[in-house]
Symmetry: C2
Subunit: 488 residues, 2 copies
Amino acid sequence: MSKKITKRSENFSKWYNDIIIHADLAENSAVRGCMVIKPYGFAIWEEMKSILDRMFKDTGHVNAYFPLFIPKSFLSKEADHVDGFAKECAVVTHYRLKNSDKGIIVDPDAKLEEELIVRPTSETIIWDTYRKWIKSYRDLPLLVNQWANVVRWEMRTRLFLRTAEFLWQEGHTAHSSQNEALEEAKTILFIYKKFIEDTLAMPVLCGLKSQREKFAGAVDTFCVEALMQDGKALQAGTSHFLGQNFAKAFDVKFANKDGNLEYVWASSWGVSTRLIGGLVMSHSDDFGLVLPPKLAPFQIVLIPIYHNQQEYKNVTNELKKLANNLRLKNYRVKEDYRDTHKPGWKFSEYEVKGVPIRLVMGPRDIENQTVELFRRDTMKKNNVPLDNLNNTIDTLIVDIQENLFNKASKFNSENTFNSDDFEDFKSKILQGGFVFAHWDGSSETEDEIKKLTKATIRCIPLEDIHEPGSCILTGKPSAQRVVFAKSY
Amino acid sequence: MSKKITKRSENFSKWYNDIIIHADLAENSAVRGCMVIKPYGFAIWEEMKSILDRMFKDTGHVNAYFPLFIPKSFLSKEADHVDGFAKECAVVTHYRLKNSDKGIIVDPDAKLEEELIVRPTSETIIWDTYRKWIKSYRDLPLLVNQWANVVRWEMRTRLFLRTAEFLWQEGHTAHSSQNEALEEAKTILFIYKKFIEDTLAMPVLCGLKSQREKFAGAVDTFCVEALMQDGKALQAGTSHFLGQNFAKAFDVKFANKDGNLEYVWASSWGVSTRLIGGLVMSHSDDFGLVLPPKLAPFQIVLIPIYHNQQEYKNVTNELKKLANNLRLKNYRVKEDYRDTHKPGWKFSEYEVKGVPIRLVMGPRDIENQTVELFRRDTMKKNNVPLDNLNNTIDTLIVDIQENLFNKASKFNSENTFNSDDFEDFKSKILQGGFVFAHWDGSSETEDEIKKLTKATIRCIPLEDIHEPGSCILTGKPSAQRVVFAKSY
């Protein structure tokens, strides 16, 4: 029973969905727009969480947990914020069901005085709490993160990329100065970049969002943007400098060293299970998922070849020894000795699931003291002497991780263009990729370009390129190129 | 600024609340019944999660994630289940807000066709999913756990013990035989017992719930029950044998080895942030929180004593060396070198927070090559030679953990009674503790005893005591004693 995967070149979107389903990452649930994250997909998220959580803690952040529900009036306190989230939120209006002759119904006597919103993000409830926590400059900075589920009632959903409920981390920090809050937002941006490049093996562009594209309630939004294999951009993480917007909305002041009261400065930042979608679209191929070793739930799978019970016993005995040795070196190892499935079925299964390294052993391998090693990223196999296996694996695990990053970087370079002419720009956007072009800085121009090409400004690159020019659409002066692309 | 904690003997409930607040574990939020788990409290939960998660994985369980929302019709599919949860659930009825002349209101045009319940527990949505995952005996057993937030709209709430939203893990397993499902429920019960006794240092009783007290939808509920310092029992974890109830409600069948279709057998089980409440009420004292070393966010705190900057420099230099050595041995260490707070203030702060070991060093300690060591559980201090510090700490960390367990066990023994006379029973229940008494097995008698004494059957002990007798209330025959207590 081989799992049929649509080719990328035929239908990228169907290819993506096939991989998510056949690699057992996730599926749609009975609740519109909400996904079930299956054990294999969740194990990837657990690895991501564990690595990123360590990076946050190493930079002085602590975890906490804030309520799932946000009173409606809280959302309304920051004007831009409510505009951004009001149109897509799940609203709790009652707190009881009851029996009736029509079956179980919502009890009309159990209506909440004030409706509760299932958090789409937690700035409001957290800043309401910070008012109690922050009195003096001595209480600052406050560097708090939470791992949580959030809900945004999206109308068109796609597994991992856009779902009504998703999992994420959201950091919310409070500072005594504008500069410190801005530095925090940038520090996190570079943690995201390092995490996504080193762990997910996905190269990203760092930049600032345009005012049109920034977070509802932010002064400035920084972002990391990745390029998918179909030439569309994916916003992989955002870090917001919130100024004093939420401090003012929730009246959070601190006494400075001179004893004067000032509003607190803030940042917030997040990445979500959307990263799993990005991971799939960055590295996978027509055979299925391709996983970087750092995130693979199983880095190495061991499969026996045999024709009778004696051979089965001999081969699995050898493989168990290898597996134990590899586990001692902290590799995540899967042994598949099931007699109910043929080796060919297993090969295909772990190819689809993107396991980085496959080791296969048969009776002849024992004689030769070798094992057949297959690497998923290049689909190449060779025989490795058993006495050199540990070294080979050590090198290969690093090599596969690097190879995926280099391959994705090469793809990015080949699909990153400059453009100075609008017809050329349109055709490049149509073809896909990051297009660096001049823009006059106005939201009207941004809207018009989007209308004409479906491209948005992904970011204003942080490295100041200092190359003045003329806007690709209006010809008005521009200080630097910005990055356009179609996006998820 | 010393934090005033009410004495246990004066007002146990106020004492409990003072500790939660002053030790910075949690606080009430602006949302009725929902708590904010503060960083220090959340760090304890993170330690619990990490240890328990490892125990689940070591016994073959995997994590996954299922939707927050449950369609109303799903809850209704298992009759007992909906009766158990309908009266206390948060109901989502709309998916959009809008602007009006009265401000932001719920958009009446965005009413859901079917209301969604915020999960109070996930049996229904999970068994609806399992229908797709389970076809054959080869797909079984399915051993899945999720770490999640759940909501039960409790009317009277208390931090950690009973909150509208809480964090927990819920395991949901599927099996091909009744016996295997029952064994799973018991396996988990004993994992809970081991975890709570070894890690939380809380002795527990294992038993079966009466039919009156079992989980809504279960055939049988197993539980671990702990005794708090006020003599009330706390249900610390439950593990349910669900029979085929949910398989029948959601039509989940598997082909057995003979190719015949059978309904799947199930278990479910959970422990929650309530355990933090149990931890507080088991070990803490009138000076504040007392933490077992295995769960303490900081196991050792280091504080300098000094009178001038030169002394500050010398002492902190020495302490930093100690701290680094202790970290190399994987201890969780906190160094408090703040010059803004006096040593006495710090002593009191970490006493209230229950840090197991405090090390204090002043200039004279450097001369003597010693450090002052204070252990929180006994409040005793002594001077330890620096060259013997590592050994002393190694021994002490184990000793404190054991001491807390032994102290709680002694308390349990001293507050566990047999009773064979109803007047005696009433007075013992009033006084507090576990009372082992005979019961005729009927729900009516159980209700009557509760009415007369406020005591409930905490569990029918698993060790079959085989000591027949007469019911404490009705005099009817009874096969074994059961455990009564007032409870949280």
